[in-house]
Subunit: 199 residues, 2 copies
């Protein structure tokens, strides 16, 4: 399978899986949550508002070829499990750390989208005084929420006993809706401001 | 060229270049600065002191094979230029960001080890209220210093006019020596405490 990158963007295996997911019927047409976050981060960086980046996908490199007069070529490598979340950086002098998730469900956010290491990492960040949260998009609703990691940590800890998802209504109640903007399209730091104010 | 990883560690091209560098005659025998930082970060994480990680090497993936009944194999990929530094995280409620460099020189730290994007990134982090610094090891001296990014930013800005390196004496004067410890071997957060106290 060959994948071409006319835009010079890296390949993200998680992203490629999302191609099978139904796109929302209204809003956010054609742009993934990840693309919108990258665009927002670039906007915030260029305007001196924040310095937040997506971490590269962790790769285990096994074999590298060094052809003459051209760039080193990795000819065998494998995807590794990350031990942290995808995004971190600094805003308002605070350390900020989050993961972004999309779901096609309209009624709840399935906890199968979340991994133990992400929960552990975000709980640790919170304990150390950082802002830790999830950005969750309900693709069919075209709605994106920022929710503090504590809601998902609680749900995660009780997932065996009770339920295996967080109801949409609970995310609406405890989360902060990120309305679509123009520059950037996803002005998620407005929701971070609300999160800071609520603390 | 085939590279084997009995320890399950990832391959770092920068690291592989360092194999040609002379090892220090005293101290730090056989362990690179990167290995010691990774060990220190793991120690700090496990003891709940800080949450600091090295970012994965950025890779541009071009081709992925999906063999039946085994893991996806990346069969063509290239190293990309990073836009940030290698390390970031949270300590004492603060955002912290740094790069680590080794030099075989005994008299100065050559600025050829530093890239424009690293300087720009660390200057931006400082402006936004984060701690930004370099950890520099003089391999032949077996000495490792933490220096605030401002010293290197200044030297970088004047590198065309005056000199192309930062003298060892200046690093000793303005930096914080990191004495070798037992657990961790490189207790660099002690030097970060000094950096915080000096502000």
């Amino acid at each position: 399978m060959t994948i071409k990158y006319p835009n010079g963007q890296g390949f993200d295996p998680a992203q490629s899986n999302k191609r099978a997911v139904h796109r929302p019927s209204q809003g956010h047409r054609g742009m993934s949550l990840e693309s919108e976050l990258n665009q927002a981060n670039q906007f915030y960086l260029q305007n001196g508002v924040a310095n937040i980046h997506k971490k590269p996908t962790p790769i285990q490199i096994v074999n590298v070829d060094y052809p003459k007069r051209s760039a080193a070529k990795i000819s065998e490598a494998y995807f590794r499990q990350a031990s942290t979340t995808d995004y971190n950086g600094i805003y308002q002098g605070r350390y900020l750390d989050f993961d972004a998730k999309e779901t096609a469900s309209q009624t709840s956010f399935p906890l199968s989208n979340v991994h133990q290491h992400q929960i552990d990492h975000l709980a640790d960040i919170k304990r150390l005084g950082g802002l830790s949260f999830f950005i969750i998009r309900f693709t069919k609703r075209g709605e994106t929420y920022l929710i503090d990691s504590s809601l998902l940590i609680d749900s995660w800890q009780h997932r065996q006993e009770t339920r295996k998802s967080v109801p949409y209504a609970e995310i609406v109640k405890h989360g902060f809706l990120i309305p679509t903007g123009l520059r950037p399209i996803l002005p998620y730091l407005n929701a971070v401001d609300q999160l800071i104010a609520a603390h």
